[in-house]
Amino acid sequence: MKKTLKIIAALLLLPASLFAADAYYDTGSQIFNITAGATVPFFYSNPSNTNEPITMWPGDGDGNMHRTAGGVGAISYQVFVHPYIALGAELAFQFDFTRADIVQTNVPIFVKATAVPVQGRFEVPISIGAGLLYMSYDGASKLSFGCQFEAGIRYFITDAWGIGLNYGFYFFPEIYAGEPEKSSTMSYMPITLTVSYRH
Protein backbone atom coordinates (compact mmCIF):
# COMPACT_ATOMS: atom_id res chain seq x y z
CA MET A 1 0.00 0.00 0.00
CA LYS A 2 2.81 2.38 0.94
CA LYS A 3 4.54 1.54 -2.34
CA THR A 4 1.42 2.41 -4.30
CA LEU A 5 1.08 5.74 -2.55
CA LYS A 6 4.71 6.54 -3.30
CA ILE A 7 4.18 5.85 -6.99
CA ILE A 8 1.08 8.07 -7.10
CA ALA A 9 2.93 10.84 -5.28
CA ALA A 10 5.84 10.56 -7.72
CA LEU A 11 3.48 10.83 -10.69
CA LEU A 12 1.77 13.90 -9.24
CA LEU A 13 5.10 15.55 -8.58
CA LEU A 14 6.48 14.75 -12.03
CA PRO A 15 5.33 18.03 -13.65
CA ALA A 16 6.82 19.93 -10.77
CA SER A 17 10.09 18.10 -11.25
CA LEU A 18 10.05 19.04 -14.92
CA PHE A 19 9.60 22.69 -14.00
CA ALA A 20 12.52 22.28 -11.67
CA ALA A 21 14.89 21.89 -14.61
CA ASP A 22 16.82 24.94 -15.76
CA ALA A 23 14.52 27.29 -17.64
CA TYR A 24 15.46 28.27 -21.18
CA TYR A 25 13.15 31.25 -21.32
CA ASP A 26 13.20 34.42 -19.32
CA THR A 27 10.24 36.52 -18.40
CA GLY A 28 9.72 38.70 -21.46
CA SER A 29 10.93 36.14 -23.98
CA GLN A 30 8.78 36.02 -27.08
CA ILE A 31 7.67 33.26 -29.42
CA PHE A 32 5.94 33.51 -32.77
CA ASN A 33 4.24 30.49 -34.37
CA ILE A 34 2.86 29.81 -37.82
CA THR A 35 0.66 26.72 -37.84
CA ALA A 36 -1.06 24.72 -40.58
CA GLY A 37 -2.66 21.33 -40.72
CA ALA A 38 -5.81 19.26 -40.89
CA THR A 39 -8.94 19.27 -38.76
CA VAL A 40 -11.03 16.19 -38.19
CA PRO A 41 -14.67 16.75 -37.21
CA PHE A 42 -14.91 15.12 -33.79
CA PHE A 43 -18.47 15.53 -32.59
CA TYR A 44 -21.49 17.71 -33.13
CA SER A 45 -23.96 18.19 -30.30
CA ASN A 46 -27.37 19.39 -31.43
CA PRO A 47 -29.92 18.89 -28.63
CA SER A 48 -32.76 20.05 -30.88
CA ASN A 49 -32.31 16.96 -33.00
CA THR A 50 -33.83 14.34 -30.74
CA ASN A 51 -33.11 11.61 -33.27
CA GLU A 52 -29.40 12.35 -33.44
CA PRO A 53 -28.48 14.69 -30.59
CA ILE A 54 -24.81 13.80 -31.00
CA THR A 55 -23.10 12.88 -34.24
CA MET A 56 -19.44 12.03 -34.67
CA TRP A 57 -16.70 11.94 -37.27
CA PRO A 58 -16.72 13.11 -40.87
CA GLY A 59 -19.08 11.53 -43.36
CA ASP A 60 -22.61 11.82 -44.72
CA GLY A 61 -24.09 8.71 -43.16
CA ASP A 62 -26.32 8.25 -40.15
CA GLY A 63 -24.48 9.26 -37.03
CA ASN A 64 -21.89 11.26 -38.95
CA MET A 65 -21.45 15.00 -38.93
CA HIS A 66 -22.28 15.64 -42.59
CA ARG A 67 -18.96 17.29 -43.27
CA THR A 68 -15.52 16.42 -44.53
CA ALA A 69 -12.15 16.60 -42.87
CA GLY A 70 -10.87 20.13 -43.25
CA GLY A 71 -7.90 22.35 -42.69
CA VAL A 72 -6.67 25.04 -40.36
CA GLY A 73 -4.07 27.75 -40.44
CA ALA A 74 -3.05 29.98 -37.55
CA ILE A 75 -0.59 32.57 -36.35
CA SER A 76 0.16 33.27 -32.74
CA TYR A 77 2.31 35.58 -30.72
CA GLN A 78 3.11 34.99 -27.08
CA VAL A 79 5.25 36.56 -24.39
CA PHE A 80 6.60 34.61 -21.46
CA VAL A 81 5.16 36.01 -18.25
CA HIS A 82 6.94 33.33 -16.31
CA PRO A 83 9.91 31.22 -17.43
CA TYR A 84 7.50 28.31 -18.07
CA ILE A 85 4.30 30.09 -19.09
CA ALA A 86 3.64 32.22 -22.15
CA LEU A 87 0.58 34.35 -22.76
CA GLY A 88 -0.55 35.79 -26.04
CA ALA A 89 -3.11 35.57 -28.79
CA GLU A 90 -3.84 33.34 -31.74
CA LEU A 91 -5.74 34.07 -34.91
CA ALA A 92 -6.83 30.96 -36.84
CA PHE A 93 -8.85 30.10 -39.91
CA GLN A 94 -10.50 26.69 -39.98
CA PHE A 95 -12.61 25.29 -42.79
CA ASP A 96 -14.29 22.15 -44.01
CA PHE A 97 -17.03 21.23 -46.47
CA THR A 98 -20.58 20.12 -45.78
CA ARG A 99 -22.34 17.43 -47.76
CA ALA A 100 -23.82 20.22 -49.87
CA ASP A 101 -20.21 20.82 -50.95
CA ILE A 102 -20.29 24.30 -49.43
CA VAL A 103 -17.43 25.50 -47.26
CA GLN A 104 -18.04 26.28 -43.61
CA THR A 105 -15.47 28.44 -41.89
CA ASN A 106 -14.57 29.26 -38.32
CA VAL A 107 -12.23 32.06 -37.32
CA PRO A 108 -11.16 31.76 -33.68
CA ILE A 109 -9.51 34.80 -32.14
CA PHE A 110 -8.28 33.36 -28.88
CA VAL A 111 -6.27 34.43 -25.92
CA LYS A 112 -3.80 31.58 -25.55
CA ALA A 113 -1.79 30.41 -22.58
CA THR A 114 1.00 27.91 -23.08
CA ALA A 115 2.92 26.01 -20.46
CA VAL A 116 6.29 24.67 -21.56
CA PRO A 117 7.34 22.23 -18.85
CA VAL A 118 10.06 20.73 -21.03
CA GLN A 119 12.05 23.41 -22.80
CA GLY A 120 15.27 24.04 -24.54
CA ARG A 121 16.05 22.43 -27.88
CA PHE A 122 13.27 19.87 -27.42
CA GLU A 123 10.05 21.22 -25.98
CA VAL A 124 6.60 20.04 -24.92
CA PRO A 125 4.12 22.94 -25.17
CA ILE A 126 0.68 22.48 -23.64
CA SER A 127 -1.85 25.19 -24.41
CA ILE A 128 -5.33 26.32 -23.62
CA GLY A 129 -7.11 29.11 -25.40
CA ALA A 130 -10.45 30.85 -25.34
CA GLY A 131 -12.06 33.81 -26.96
CA LEU A 132 -14.17 34.98 -29.83
CA LEU A 133 -15.24 32.82 -32.70
CA TYR A 134 -16.56 34.06 -36.02
CA MET A 135 -18.38 31.32 -37.90
CA SER A 136 -19.90 31.54 -41.35
CA TYR A 137 -21.70 29.31 -43.82
CA ASP A 138 -23.42 29.95 -47.13
CA GLY A 139 -23.77 33.68 -46.68
CA ALA A 140 -24.78 33.55 -43.02
CA SER A 141 -22.47 34.35 -40.13
CA LYS A 142 -22.39 34.69 -36.39
CA LEU A 143 -20.01 35.77 -33.68
CA SER A 144 -19.80 33.37 -30.78
CA PHE A 145 -17.25 32.06 -28.33
CA GLY A 146 -14.93 29.08 -28.33
CA CYS A 147 -12.08 27.38 -26.57
CA GLN A 148 -9.28 25.00 -27.40
CA PHE A 149 -6.86 22.58 -25.84
CA GLU A 150 -3.61 21.68 -27.53
CA ALA A 151 -0.51 19.64 -26.76
CA GLY A 152 2.52 19.02 -28.90
CA ILE A 153 6.21 18.55 -29.27
CA ARG A 154 8.65 20.84 -31.01
CA TYR A 155 12.32 20.78 -31.84
CA PHE A 156 14.50 23.84 -32.37
CA ILE A 157 16.82 23.24 -35.28
CA THR A 158 18.67 26.45 -34.50
CA ASP A 159 18.60 28.49 -31.39
CA ALA A 160 15.73 30.58 -32.80
CA TRP A 161 13.87 28.42 -35.31
CA GLY A 162 11.96 25.25 -34.55
CA ILE A 163 9.28 22.95 -35.94
CA GLY A 164 6.57 21.18 -34.04
CA LEU A 165 3.72 18.69 -34.24
CA ASN A 166 0.49 19.43 -32.37
CA TYR A 167 -2.73 17.69 -31.52
CA GLY A 168 -5.73 19.15 -29.81
CA PHE A 169 -9.42 19.89 -29.60
CA TYR A 170 -11.56 22.84 -30.62
CA PHE A 171 -14.87 23.40 -28.89
CA PHE A 172 -17.12 25.85 -30.72
CA PRO A 173 -20.47 26.38 -29.01
CA GLU A 174 -22.97 28.38 -31.02
CA ILE A 175 -25.15 29.99 -28.41
CA TYR A 176 -28.46 31.80 -28.84
CA ALA A 177 -29.56 33.08 -25.45
CA GLY A 178 -33.22 33.55 -26.33
CA GLU A 179 -33.52 30.68 -28.80
CA PRO A 180 -31.96 27.58 -27.26
CA GLU A 181 -33.39 25.40 -30.04
CA LYS A 182 -30.87 27.00 -32.42
CA SER A 183 -27.88 26.39 -30.16
CA SER A 184 -25.44 23.59 -30.84
CA THR A 185 -21.76 22.79 -30.34
CA MET A 186 -19.15 21.73 -32.84
CA SER A 187 -15.87 20.08 -31.94
CA TYR A 188 -12.82 19.43 -34.09
CA MET A 189 -9.51 17.69 -33.60
CA PRO A 190 -6.73 19.71 -35.24
CA ILE A 191 -3.52 17.92 -36.19
CA THR A 192 -1.00 20.56 -37.19
CA LEU A 193 2.59 21.40 -37.96
CA THR A 194 4.13 24.56 -36.51
CA VAL A 195 7.09 26.66 -37.43
CA SER A 196 8.27 28.59 -34.38
CA TYR A 197 10.56 31.57 -33.96
CA ARG A 198 11.66 32.53 -30.48
CA HIS A 199 13.47 35.57 -29.32
Partner: protein, 401 residues
Protein backbone atom coordinates in the same frame (compact mmCIF):
# COMPACT_ATOMS: atom_id res chain seq x y z
CA UNK B 1 -11.48 52.46 -17.41
CA UNK B 2 -15.19 51.85 -16.96
CA UNK B 3 -15.90 53.71 -20.21
CA UNK B 4 -13.41 51.54 -22.06
CA UNK B 5 -14.99 48.35 -20.71
CA UNK B 6 -18.46 49.61 -21.58
CA UNK B 7 -17.40 50.55 -25.09
CA UNK B 8 -15.75 47.14 -25.59
CA UNK B 9 -18.89 45.37 -24.37
CA UNK B 10 -21.05 47.44 -26.71
CA UNK B 11 -18.83 46.63 -29.66
CA UNK B 12 -18.94 42.95 -28.73
CA UNK B 13 -22.72 42.88 -28.46
CA UNK B 14 -23.03 44.72 -31.75
CA UNK B 15 -20.72 42.26 -33.46
CA UNK B 16 -22.50 39.28 -31.93
CA UNK B 17 -25.60 39.97 -33.98
CA UNK B 18 -26.00 37.22 -36.52
CA UNK B 19 -25.76 38.26 -40.13
CA UNK B 20 -28.04 37.03 -42.87
CA UNK B 21 -28.92 34.03 -40.79
CA UNK B 22 -31.95 31.87 -41.45
CA UNK B 23 -34.06 32.77 -38.49
CA UNK B 24 -35.08 29.18 -37.88
CA UNK B 25 -31.69 27.54 -37.40
CA UNK B 26 -28.14 28.22 -36.34
CA UNK B 27 -25.06 28.22 -38.52
CA UNK B 28 -23.98 24.72 -37.54
CA UNK B 29 -27.52 23.40 -37.86
CA UNK B 30 -27.81 24.87 -41.33
CA UNK B 31 -24.50 23.27 -42.28
CA UNK B 32 -25.52 19.92 -40.77
CA UNK B 33 -28.88 19.74 -42.51
CA UNK B 34 -27.80 21.16 -45.84
CA UNK B 35 -28.01 18.91 -48.86
CA UNK B 36 -26.40 19.11 -52.30
CA UNK B 37 -28.01 21.77 -54.43
CA UNK B 38 -26.25 21.26 -57.72
CA UNK B 39 -28.25 18.27 -58.93
CA UNK B 40 -31.73 18.48 -57.55
CA UNK B 41 -33.61 15.23 -57.17
CA UNK B 42 -37.34 15.42 -56.99
CA UNK B 43 -38.80 13.41 -54.17
CA UNK B 44 -42.37 14.32 -54.95
CA UNK B 45 -44.43 16.89 -56.78
CA UNK B 46 -46.79 18.21 -54.16
CA UNK B 47 -49.28 20.11 -56.24
CA UNK B 48 -49.92 23.68 -57.24
CA UNK B 49 -50.08 26.99 -55.47
CA UNK B 50 -51.50 29.48 -57.89
CA UNK B 51 -49.94 28.74 -61.24
CA UNK B 52 -46.77 27.29 -59.78
CA UNK B 53 -45.81 23.69 -59.18
CA UNK B 54 -44.59 22.99 -55.66
CA UNK B 55 -41.86 20.39 -55.59
CA UNK B 56 -40.08 18.57 -52.80
CA UNK B 57 -36.56 17.62 -53.74
CA UNK B 58 -33.27 17.10 -51.94
CA UNK B 59 -34.94 17.98 -48.68
CA UNK B 60 -35.88 21.38 -50.08
CA UNK B 61 -39.13 22.93 -51.19
CA UNK B 62 -39.10 24.48 -54.63
CA UNK B 63 -41.64 26.33 -56.69
CA UNK B 64 -41.52 26.06 -60.45
CA UNK B 65 -43.07 28.97 -62.32
CA UNK B 66 -42.89 27.33 -65.73
CA UNK B 67 -39.52 28.81 -66.52
CA UNK B 68 -37.48 28.86 -63.38
CA UNK B 69 -37.06 26.81 -60.25
CA UNK B 70 -37.04 28.83 -57.04
CA UNK B 71 -35.85 27.51 -53.70
CA UNK B 72 -38.46 28.19 -51.01
CA UNK B 73 -36.73 26.64 -48.01
CA UNK B 74 -34.54 23.79 -46.87
CA UNK B 75 -36.78 21.66 -44.70
CA UNK B 76 -34.37 18.81 -44.01
CA UNK B 77 -33.99 20.00 -40.44
CA UNK B 78 -37.71 19.74 -39.80
CA UNK B 79 -37.92 16.36 -41.43
CA UNK B 80 -35.10 15.00 -39.28
CA UNK B 81 -36.19 16.63 -36.04
CA UNK B 82 -39.96 16.65 -36.22
CA UNK B 83 -40.67 14.06 -38.88
CA UNK B 84 -42.44 16.71 -40.94
CA UNK B 85 -43.05 15.38 -44.41
CA UNK B 86 -44.70 17.48 -47.09
CA UNK B 87 -47.34 15.59 -48.99
CA UNK B 88 -49.63 18.06 -50.70
CA UNK B 89 -49.79 21.64 -51.92
CA UNK B 90 -53.11 23.34 -52.45
CA UNK B 91 -55.08 26.42 -51.48
CA UNK B 92 -51.94 28.54 -51.01
CA UNK B 93 -50.56 26.09 -48.45
CA UNK B 94 -48.18 23.17 -48.25
CA UNK B 95 -49.46 20.33 -46.10
CA UNK B 96 -47.17 18.36 -43.81
CA UNK B 97 -47.70 15.11 -41.95
CA UNK B 98 -46.00 14.20 -38.70
CA UNK B 99 -46.39 12.02 -35.66
CA UNK B 100 -47.49 13.71 -32.45
CA UNK B 101 -46.11 11.54 -29.67
CA UNK B 102 -47.95 13.45 -26.94
CA UNK B 103 -44.56 14.01 -25.30
CA UNK B 104 -44.50 10.44 -24.08
CA UNK B 105 -42.50 7.34 -24.98
CA UNK B 106 -45.72 5.38 -25.17
CA UNK B 107 -46.51 4.74 -28.83
CA UNK B 108 -50.11 3.88 -28.04
CA UNK B 109 -51.04 7.52 -27.60
CA UNK B 110 -49.29 8.68 -30.77
CA UNK B 111 -51.41 10.50 -33.30
CA UNK B 112 -50.79 11.11 -36.94
CA UNK B 113 -51.45 14.72 -37.61
CA UNK B 114 -51.27 17.11 -40.48
CA UNK B 115 -50.64 20.80 -40.55
CA UNK B 116 -50.31 23.35 -43.26
CA UNK B 117 -48.22 26.44 -43.80
CA UNK B 118 -47.95 29.15 -46.39
CA UNK B 119 -44.73 29.53 -48.35
CA UNK B 120 -43.82 32.66 -46.39
CA UNK B 121 -44.40 30.84 -43.12
CA UNK B 122 -42.19 27.99 -44.30
CA UNK B 123 -39.44 30.44 -45.18
CA UNK B 124 -39.46 31.58 -41.57
CA UNK B 125 -39.38 28.10 -40.09
CA UNK B 126 -41.85 25.27 -39.75
CA UNK B 127 -43.93 24.82 -36.67
CA UNK B 128 -46.69 22.28 -36.30
CA UNK B 129 -48.58 24.70 -34.09
CA UNK B 130 -49.48 26.70 -37.18
CA UNK B 131 -53.22 27.13 -37.62
CA UNK B 132 -54.54 24.21 -39.59
CA UNK B 133 -52.81 21.50 -37.62
CA UNK B 134 -55.38 18.81 -37.26
CA UNK B 135 -55.72 15.21 -36.36
CA UNK B 136 -56.60 12.87 -39.19
CA UNK B 137 -59.87 11.07 -39.11
CA UNK B 138 -60.67 8.19 -41.36
CA UNK B 139 -63.93 7.13 -42.84
CA UNK B 140 -64.24 3.80 -44.54
CA UNK B 141 -67.24 2.76 -46.50
CA UNK B 142 -67.18 -0.81 -45.25
CA UNK B 143 -66.03 -0.47 -41.68
CA UNK B 144 -67.19 0.98 -38.46
CA UNK B 145 -65.53 3.70 -36.48
CA UNK B 146 -63.70 1.33 -34.15
CA UNK B 147 -60.46 1.43 -36.06
CA UNK B 148 -57.42 3.50 -35.29
CA UNK B 149 -54.67 4.46 -37.70
CA UNK B 150 -51.44 3.07 -36.30
CA UNK B 151 -49.13 3.73 -39.21
CA UNK B 152 -48.89 5.61 -42.46
CA UNK B 153 -47.18 3.39 -44.98
CA UNK B 154 -46.91 5.98 -47.67
CA UNK B 155 -48.29 9.14 -49.16
CA UNK B 156 -48.31 9.66 -52.87
CA UNK B 157 -49.50 12.64 -54.83
CA UNK B 158 -49.63 11.09 -58.24
CA UNK B 159 -51.47 13.58 -60.38
CA UNK B 160 -51.16 16.73 -58.27
CA UNK B 161 -54.87 16.86 -57.53
CA UNK B 162 -55.36 14.09 -55.02
CA UNK B 163 -53.17 12.48 -52.43
CA UNK B 164 -53.21 8.73 -52.15
CA UNK B 165 -52.34 7.11 -48.87
CA UNK B 166 -51.48 3.65 -47.60
CA UNK B 167 -52.02 3.14 -43.91
CA UNK B 168 -52.41 0.48 -41.30
CA UNK B 169 -55.32 0.39 -38.89
CA UNK B 170 -56.09 -1.61 -35.78
CA UNK B 171 -59.40 -2.01 -34.07
CA UNK B 172 -59.79 0.01 -30.90
CA UNK B 173 -59.57 -2.93 -28.59
CA UNK B 174 -56.74 -4.62 -30.42
CA UNK B 175 -53.23 -4.83 -29.16
CA UNK B 176 -51.09 -3.34 -31.90
CA UNK B 177 -48.66 -6.20 -31.47
CA UNK B 178 -51.27 -8.65 -32.72
CA UNK B 179 -50.72 -8.79 -36.45
CA UNK B 180 -54.06 -10.43 -37.10
CA UNK B 181 -55.77 -7.28 -35.91
CA UNK B 182 -53.84 -5.03 -38.27
CA UNK B 183 -55.20 -4.22 -41.69
CA UNK B 184 -53.48 -2.25 -44.42
CA UNK B 185 -55.79 0.00 -46.36
CA UNK B 186 -55.58 2.29 -49.34
CA UNK B 187 -57.50 5.51 -49.73
CA UNK B 188 -57.40 9.18 -50.50
CA UNK B 189 -56.78 12.14 -48.25
CA UNK B 190 -59.40 14.81 -48.54
CA UNK B 191 -59.83 18.13 -46.93
CA UNK B 192 -62.86 17.87 -44.75
CA UNK B 193 -63.82 21.52 -44.98
CA UNK B 194 -63.35 24.32 -47.43
CA UNK B 195 -60.62 25.93 -45.37
CA UNK B 196 -58.56 22.77 -45.36
CA UNK B 197 -58.23 22.79 -41.58
CA UNK B 198 -59.46 19.23 -41.22
CA UNK B 199 -58.62 16.06 -43.08
CA UNK B 200 -60.34 12.80 -43.68
CA UNK B 201 -59.30 9.64 -45.42
CA UNK B 202 -61.89 8.31 -47.75
CA UNK B 203 -61.90 4.91 -49.34
CA UNK B 204 -60.01 2.41 -47.28
CA UNK B 205 -59.77 -0.56 -49.62
CA UNK B 206 -58.09 -3.49 -47.90
CA UNK B 207 -54.82 -4.45 -49.56
CA UNK B 208 -51.78 -6.58 -48.88
CA UNK B 209 -49.56 -5.25 -46.09
CA UNK B 210 -46.52 -5.19 -48.37
CA UNK B 211 -48.22 -2.89 -50.88
CA UNK B 212 -46.77 0.22 -52.39
CA UNK B 213 -48.45 2.79 -54.61
CA UNK B 214 -47.06 2.67 -58.13
CA UNK B 215 -49.66 4.68 -59.97
CA UNK B 216 -53.03 6.36 -59.77
CA UNK B 217 -55.24 3.72 -58.22
CA UNK B 218 -52.75 0.96 -58.72
CA UNK B 219 -50.69 -0.81 -56.10
CA UNK B 220 -48.14 -3.52 -56.10
CA UNK B 221 -47.52 -5.99 -53.29
CA UNK B 222 -44.18 -7.63 -53.60
CA UNK B 223 -42.05 -9.45 -51.07
CA UNK B 224 -38.73 -10.68 -52.32
CA UNK B 225 -37.41 -12.20 -49.14
CA UNK B 226 -39.43 -15.14 -47.81
CA UNK B 227 -38.32 -14.24 -44.31
CA UNK B 228 -39.50 -10.67 -44.62
CA UNK B 229 -41.05 -9.40 -41.39
CA UNK B 230 -43.85 -6.90 -41.54
CA UNK B 231 -46.34 -5.95 -38.86
CA UNK B 232 -45.13 -8.89 -36.81
CA UNK B 233 -45.83 -11.41 -39.52
CA UNK B 234 -43.45 -13.38 -41.70
CA UNK B 235 -44.45 -12.99 -45.31
CA UNK B 236 -43.72 -15.49 -47.99
CA UNK B 237 -42.83 -14.41 -51.49
CA UNK B 238 -45.67 -12.71 -53.22
CA UNK B 239 -46.18 -10.63 -56.31
CA UNK B 240 -49.63 -9.15 -56.42
CA UNK B 241 -51.12 -6.29 -58.32
CA UNK B 242 -54.12 -4.31 -57.15
CA UNK B 243 -56.23 -1.86 -59.00
CA UNK B 244 -58.78 0.05 -57.01
CA UNK B 245 -62.06 1.71 -57.57
CA UNK B 246 -61.75 5.39 -58.30
CA UNK B 247 -63.08 6.18 -54.83
CA UNK B 248 -60.72 3.74 -53.17
CA UNK B 249 -63.49 1.64 -51.72
CA UNK B 250 -62.58 -1.65 -53.31
CA UNK B 251 -59.32 -3.24 -54.38
CA UNK B 252 -59.22 -5.77 -57.18
CA UNK B 253 -56.50 -8.34 -56.79
CA UNK B 254 -54.99 -9.44 -60.06
CA UNK B 255 -53.17 -12.58 -60.87
CA UNK B 256 -49.81 -13.23 -59.35
CA UNK B 257 -46.59 -13.46 -61.26
CA UNK B 258 -46.83 -17.23 -61.46
CA UNK B 259 -50.20 -16.99 -63.11
CA UNK B 260 -48.98 -14.37 -65.53
CA UNK B 261 -45.86 -16.05 -66.83
CA UNK B 262 -43.51 -14.38 -64.39
CA UNK B 263 -44.45 -10.79 -65.06
CA UNK B 264 -42.26 -8.56 -63.01
CA UNK B 265 -44.58 -5.92 -61.65
CA UNK B 266 -41.64 -3.97 -60.28
CA UNK B 267 -41.30 -1.99 -63.50
CA UNK B 268 -44.97 -1.62 -64.10
CA UNK B 269 -46.21 1.75 -65.21
CA UNK B 270 -49.66 3.04 -65.53
CA UNK B 271 -51.29 4.96 -68.29
CA UNK B 272 -54.31 6.95 -67.33
CA UNK B 273 -55.90 6.15 -70.65
CA UNK B 274 -56.47 2.66 -69.31
CA UNK B 275 -53.33 1.05 -70.63
CA UNK B 276 -50.92 -0.71 -68.34
CA UNK B 277 -47.33 -1.33 -69.29
CA UNK B 278 -45.25 -4.16 -67.92
CA UNK B 279 -41.66 -5.10 -68.41
CA UNK B 280 -40.80 -8.67 -69.17
CA UNK B 281 -37.38 -9.92 -70.05
CA UNK B 282 -36.06 -6.43 -70.64
CA UNK B 283 -38.93 -5.54 -72.97
CA UNK B 284 -41.93 -3.31 -72.39
CA UNK B 285 -45.41 -4.58 -73.07
CA UNK B 286 -48.70 -2.88 -73.17
CA UNK B 287 -51.53 -4.67 -71.43
CA UNK B 288 -55.19 -3.83 -71.56
CA UNK B 289 -56.49 -6.62 -69.39
CA UNK B 290 -54.35 -7.35 -66.40
CA UNK B 291 -55.90 -10.76 -65.94
CA UNK B 292 -54.93 -11.97 -69.38
CA UNK B 293 -51.84 -14.14 -69.40
CA UNK B 294 -48.95 -12.74 -71.37
CA UNK B 295 -48.10 -15.00 -74.25
CA UNK B 296 -45.93 -14.83 -77.33
CA UNK B 297 -48.76 -13.54 -79.44
CA UNK B 298 -49.19 -10.60 -77.16
CA UNK B 299 -45.47 -9.96 -77.12
CA UNK B 300 -45.45 -9.77 -80.86
CA UNK B 301 -48.28 -7.28 -80.81
CA UNK B 302 -46.70 -4.28 -79.14
CA UNK B 303 -43.39 -3.90 -77.41
CA UNK B 304 -40.57 -1.46 -77.06
CA UNK B 305 -37.09 -1.77 -75.73
CA UNK B 306 -36.98 -1.01 -72.06
CA UNK B 307 -33.56 -1.11 -70.56
CA UNK B 308 -34.32 1.81 -68.32
CA UNK B 309 -38.00 2.21 -68.05
CA UNK B 310 -38.92 4.88 -65.57
CA UNK B 311 -41.95 6.50 -64.09
CA UNK B 312 -44.23 8.19 -66.53
CA UNK B 313 -46.78 10.87 -66.63
CA UNK B 314 -50.28 10.24 -67.81
CA UNK B 315 -52.63 12.97 -68.81
CA UNK B 316 -56.10 12.62 -67.44
CA UNK B 317 -58.62 11.68 -70.06
CA UNK B 318 -56.08 10.35 -72.48
CA UNK B 319 -53.24 12.05 -74.22
CA UNK B 320 -49.54 12.00 -73.76
CA UNK B 321 -47.51 9.41 -72.00
CA UNK B 322 -43.78 9.90 -71.81
CA UNK B 323 -41.45 6.97 -71.62
CA UNK B 324 -37.81 7.09 -70.79
CA UNK B 325 -35.78 4.50 -72.58
CA UNK B 326 -32.15 3.86 -73.09
CA UNK B 327 -32.35 5.75 -76.33
CA UNK B 328 -34.54 8.68 -75.36
CA UNK B 329 -37.98 9.92 -74.55
CA UNK B 330 -41.06 8.55 -76.16
CA UNK B 331 -44.30 10.41 -76.29
CA UNK B 332 -47.52 8.73 -77.15
CA UNK B 333 -50.85 10.19 -77.93
CA UNK B 334 -53.71 8.17 -76.62
CA UNK B 335 -54.24 5.12 -78.72
CA UNK B 336 -51.39 5.99 -81.07
CA UNK B 337 -48.01 4.41 -81.49
CA UNK B 338 -45.25 6.01 -79.43
CA UNK B 339 -43.07 8.63 -81.10
CA UNK B 340 -39.46 9.09 -80.12
CA UNK B 341 -38.60 12.68 -79.31
CA UNK B 342 -35.50 13.45 -81.31
CA UNK B 343 -32.82 13.66 -78.67
CA UNK B 344 -29.38 12.72 -79.82
CA UNK B 345 -27.62 12.55 -76.53
CA UNK B 346 -29.74 11.46 -73.64
CA UNK B 347 -27.26 9.65 -71.51
CA UNK B 348 -27.91 12.09 -68.73
CA UNK B 349 -31.47 10.88 -68.54
CA UNK B 350 -30.73 7.29 -67.72
CA UNK B 351 -31.81 7.44 -64.15
CA UNK B 352 -35.16 7.35 -62.48
CA UNK B 353 -37.24 10.37 -63.17
CA UNK B 354 -40.58 12.00 -62.88
CA UNK B 355 -42.30 13.95 -65.56
CA UNK B 356 -44.85 16.58 -64.83
CA UNK B 357 -46.66 18.51 -67.48
CA UNK B 358 -47.12 22.24 -67.76
CA UNK B 359 -48.67 23.03 -71.09
CA UNK B 360 -46.35 21.67 -73.73
CA UNK B 361 -43.52 21.48 -71.24
CA UNK B 362 -42.66 18.26 -69.45
CA UNK B 363 -40.83 18.65 -66.20
CA UNK B 364 -38.46 15.84 -65.39
CA UNK B 365 -36.05 15.04 -62.61
CA UNK B 366 -33.32 12.47 -62.44
CA UNK B 367 -31.52 11.07 -59.47
CA UNK B 368 -28.17 12.20 -60.72
CA UNK B 369 -28.54 15.15 -63.03
CA UNK B 370 -31.23 17.36 -61.61
CA UNK B 371 -34.19 19.03 -63.23
CA UNK B 372 -34.91 19.09 -66.94
CA UNK B 373 -37.62 20.48 -69.11
CA UNK B 374 -38.59 18.90 -72.38
CA UNK B 375 -40.72 21.17 -74.49
CA UNK B 376 -42.59 19.34 -77.19
CA UNK B 377 -43.10 21.06 -80.50
CA UNK B 378 -44.05 20.06 -84.00
CA UNK B 379 -46.47 17.43 -85.14
CA UNK B 380 -43.87 14.71 -84.95
CA UNK B 381 -42.04 16.40 -82.06
CA UNK B 382 -39.11 17.10 -84.36
CA UNK B 383 -38.83 20.67 -83.07
CA UNK B 384 -38.76 19.64 -79.44
CA UNK B 385 -36.12 21.09 -77.17
CA UNK B 386 -34.46 19.96 -74.00
CA UNK B 387 -33.32 22.36 -71.32
CA UNK B 388 -31.67 21.84 -68.01
CA UNK B 389 -31.95 23.84 -64.83
CA UNK B 390 -28.58 25.33 -64.23
CA UNK B 391 -27.87 25.47 -60.49
CA UNK B 392 -25.04 27.93 -61.06
CA UNK B 393 -27.50 30.32 -62.63
CA UNK B 394 -29.92 30.24 -59.72
CA UNK B 395 -32.15 27.68 -61.33
CA UNK B 396 -32.46 29.30 -64.74
CA UNK B 397 -32.88 27.06 -67.71
CA UNK B 398 -29.95 26.48 -69.98
CA UNK B 399 -30.21 24.98 -73.43
CA UNK B 400 -29.13 21.39 -73.48
CA UNK B 401 -29.93 20.39 -77.02
Amino acid sequence: MRKIVSAAALILITMAVSCNLDSSQGIYQKAFYDTPKDDITIQSVLGRIGSELIIYGNGDLYRYDGNQMHLVADITKYNMEGGYMPFMAADSHVYFSYIDDNDTDDNDDDYFRFFRATLSEIENGLDSSFPGSHEVTASFSNSGSSEKIVKFNGLFNYDMTKTQVLFTVASDNADASKPDELITRYGFINKADVRGSAFTINGGAEVHAASSIIGDGILRAYVDDPDYELNGQTWTETNLLYTTNIDGTKAVEHKSSDDNNSIDYSDMVFGSDGTYCITLGGELFSVSNLDDPVDQDFIAEQYYRSNNLMLTYGKNGGGYIGYIYEEGIYVRDSGEAPVLVDINDDNDFITSCWIGRNGSKYLMATQETGFWVIELAGTDYADSSVMRFDPERDGNLSEYL
